[in-house]
Symmetry: C2
């Protein structure tokens, strides 16, 4: 069975796109260039802010997401991944607009937690307010009988601040400190693992930074994409 | 004037493609996602080895390079960059096959050295044997009155070994040590700067590792691409 071409519908933000790209390379067994997958990336950072649309009705990113998915399909990709959690609010519409499968980051993450941390029944969610609001993580984990808890207002604001600092090019220790504070707040409420549910978060919060496992949703998506592309799913 | 869409004809190797992608982001003044350029990447690691073709007549990468350039042009890119020095052996044919400009890494590098190190008259070249053999760096620097020197057989072998270790996923200190040895050998012969003339080299050899400036050809290409895309060239 021929390897599939991976399409990355990216740019939200660009550094998170680089991060997923790199995690796909690291998840691929390869000792020379030619053993890697073909990957086509549309890093369209012009896509309007997902959070601003969901929370306050700013410009709808949908026409841009649709155009990018079409571009990737025309370019010949066989599957699509989207390194932006909040953009998964449009996952069903994107999937309906193309013939190739569009992987789902929340589902990949919930599957990963169930497979690797079978005793976990409650996870904490660090994400932008839009991702928390639309409840996609809640639903994906509920399918596996796992409860999702989100930060209170104060700790959500720390999380959002850390995420937008990364988008502004600042991946320094201040963002890590904010996320650790928000993460430990979730752990104090019973979270047995904390999901880095915004693709900017793994750039500053790593597994080991908290007293429970940090679940890297971007890596879960990368692993799922490599398995599908290599026909191992 | 509208910003241009950058196309990356990549995959040679994939980590070098990520490196150029990241250097384009860092060379772009941006404080939020939407201020970044749109970048479309074809990371086609299946393109046959450039060195193997030039040195020993293995499969010709040209049909693959041609197909990737066409794909990027159809996707709507307004300029193309190629994060592989050896692939510039086909630069003229790629340029002739598309309507959009294809930047030239050797020219971008020679321009960068002339502008930033005006007293330099002799540079050392660390690259794969194919890049050394085709003489593209020699010609680009000769246009600025700068001489290019390459390692002897023994030090060329150290360089090639370090490059293929990176392609195999090993970016550890051994590769850096090999390149420092080869670089200091060039400096002993009068090189006033050393060009990292293979896109795998900047992943393990940084400015400061040698007693003269290390010229990152990938960064010079990224800077030239951002200038052209923003209409500042």
């Amino acid at each position: 069975m021929a390897e599939k071409i991976v399409g990355i519908l990216g740019g939200m933000g660009p550094d998170a796109t680089v991060d997923l790209f790199q995690k796909i390379l690291r998840a691929t067994p390869a000792t020379r260039d030619q053993e890697h997958l073909r990957i086509i990336v549309d890093c369209n950072s012009k896509i309007p802010d997902r959070t601003a649309h969901i929370i306050s009705g700013a410009e709808d990113p949908w026409p841009y997401l649709h155009e990018s998915a079409q571009l990737l399909e025309r370019a010949g990709v066989n599957l699509i991944v989207i390194p932006c959690n909040a953009a998964h609010n449009w996952h069903d519409r994107i999937q309906a607009s193309v013939k190739v499968p569009v992987l789902h980051i929340m589902q990949a993450t919930a599957d990963h937690v169930q497979a690797n941390y079978p005793s976990v029944t409650k996870v904490g969610l660090l994400a932008v307010p839009a991702t928390v609001k639309v409840g996609l993580y809640h639903r994906a984990f509920a399918n596996h009988g796992i409860e999702v808890i989100a930060p209170d207002k104060e700790h959500q604001e720390l999380t959002t601040k850390a995420i937008f600092a990364v988008k502004a090019g600042d991946s320094g220790p201040e963002g890590t400190a904010l996320l650790i504070k928000a993460g430990e707040h979730l752990i104090a409420q019973g979270a047995q693992a904390v999901v880095a549910g915004c693709t900017e978060i793994p750039l500053v919060l790593k597994d080991g930074d908290l007293s429970v496992p940090v679940i890297d949703a971007t890596r879960a998506l990368a692993t799922a994409a490599v398995k599908m592309a290599r026909g191992e799913d």
